[in-house]
Point group: D2
Chain length 164, copies 4
């Protein structure tokens, strides 16, 4: 399932490096002693969790089927293709990821989601210009980055919390 | 959107009365002074919230497309048709509903989800015996009942909290 | 309880207007058709909810007793007086508020908590310079503002969701 | 901090074995291949997480100071000593624990909290009969048991999710 998720993210335009870039953005000023390689490992560890993988495959499935006008519910399809601002199920899925990494992850997610940094902005632009649907994906990417940043913050304090 | 949600629930085998029955179950011993009519109103008020409606249309769309083998992701389709016990996105959507009604709603949901009372049991049995997929719906119904029960508990204490 | 909460906030340096200011910040670019008076009403409606009031009295009680070195647990007192960054119970309480107002509220909270705008920055500065403890209060204020902003966003779309 | 939390739980009447007993209750019918020793290890791993420890020390501090009538807020003290049913901050803290272990943990918590099994019932009885205050502790214990049960359910499926 892990390999499948990495492949799905890539297929939809998201590389691990793009998520690492978001983690750097969230941890700027705090990560003098970590490097891209270790952050990349942390991002992969987040994607290795079953609940995260389930969010990825569910969200991307909905994105793809909306984009291809294959949903049986045309109101939902319309909402997803417009990324309707009051539709919050994409954020609900994202919180399902962040919650696993504690309160810092949730705060990080809220910040990067509103700041629309890096790949998250690209995914949004892609929706406007190319009839793509990334309503779930941009939040999932933000949630993975926010969770990895939280894990790094916790682990820098000592090994006791290594499972976060 | 409200009428659509009521129709979708009915189409999938859930009447307002079935949800009212679950609320009675959750509030047994506490609702001498409420009756079916007022509980029915409360259930309808819960379904009248936009975030609840979004959860309903998203969850039922996924259920229906799994049942009809129309999902582009066959792994996800398989997980949903088996109601795989470690898949938790259905509960994540349910929490998105319950959270709007405070901590009592979440506790109520956990209880009725594990107790599998009434229509929730029927939906589960229907999956086993009729190739139906109600992976999301049973949790959504439980969440609506749990939320209505929480709203009733709060409002019995006085009007101050009438928006819960 | 509502009057008590308003008084407690005032006693700790937070006026309704300070929270209104945070709502304006969160909704900038979106609130041409609302004014300070209606936002103030929304903020008061948020504070009128029982679960919000319980968060306010619990958080401020912990802040005050830490500040006055009255907690029986001196490790906790130390953590709260330093606003230790990995202590997340203050955010957990804040999410308890935001959850009642849906996913937009949570995103708003994450943003304003990291941006440290207005009164939130003042409360933080006050901790550094005056031996005050506002570990819980800054998050509670952010959560109330984020919730009010979410309520405004939902209600601008129509009356159906008026209870958010 | 881990040793302190174990000591605090013991001081308030809760042994690791009491929590193991709750995990058995939640996992009955599913744990033929695990034994008390491995469940005990899982419970200890849950308590070894920083966010869980923070919930424990905060909740028990509030319980103890209510019991000893030391809170500066007498309304809050009264609410906590009565375990007022609409006060939900104790559940909010419990969800802060459960969220780290995914959606199964939340459902488990809702169930055991309403079923009031084992030590959770004892803590409640102790409040009624001995002027003790365990308003936070009973929920924290339920949350730790629910989280351990979730971790066991996930890990039985394979090593991929070992950090849950």
């Amino acid at each position: 399932m892990y390999e499948k998720c990495i492949a799905l993210l890539k297929e939809r335009g998201v590389e691990i490096e793009d998520i690492v870039d978001c983690v750097f953005y969230l941890q700027r000023g705090h990560i003098d002693d970590t490097d891209a390689a270790s952050i990349s490992e942390t991002v992969k560890k987040v994607i290795d969790k079953r609940e995260v993988q389930h969010a990825i495959i569910t969200g991307i499935c909905l994105d793809k089927m909306s984009e291809q006008r294959m949903l049986v519910d045309k109101d939902l399809e319309d909402i997803l293709n417009r990324d309707e601002s009051l539709y919050g199920i994409d954020e609900v899925l994202a919180y399902g990821i962040c919650n696993l990494y504690g309160s810092i992850a949730l705060t990080n997610f809220g910040y990067i989601d509103k700041a629309k940094y890096g790949i998250i902005k690209e995914l949004n632009d892609h929706m406007d210009n190319h009839n793509a649907c990334h309503t779930f994906l941009d939040d999932i990417v933000g949630a993975i980055a926010a969770s990895a940043a939280s894990r790094i913050a916790h682990n820098k304090k000592g090994p006791e919390d290594e499972t976060l």
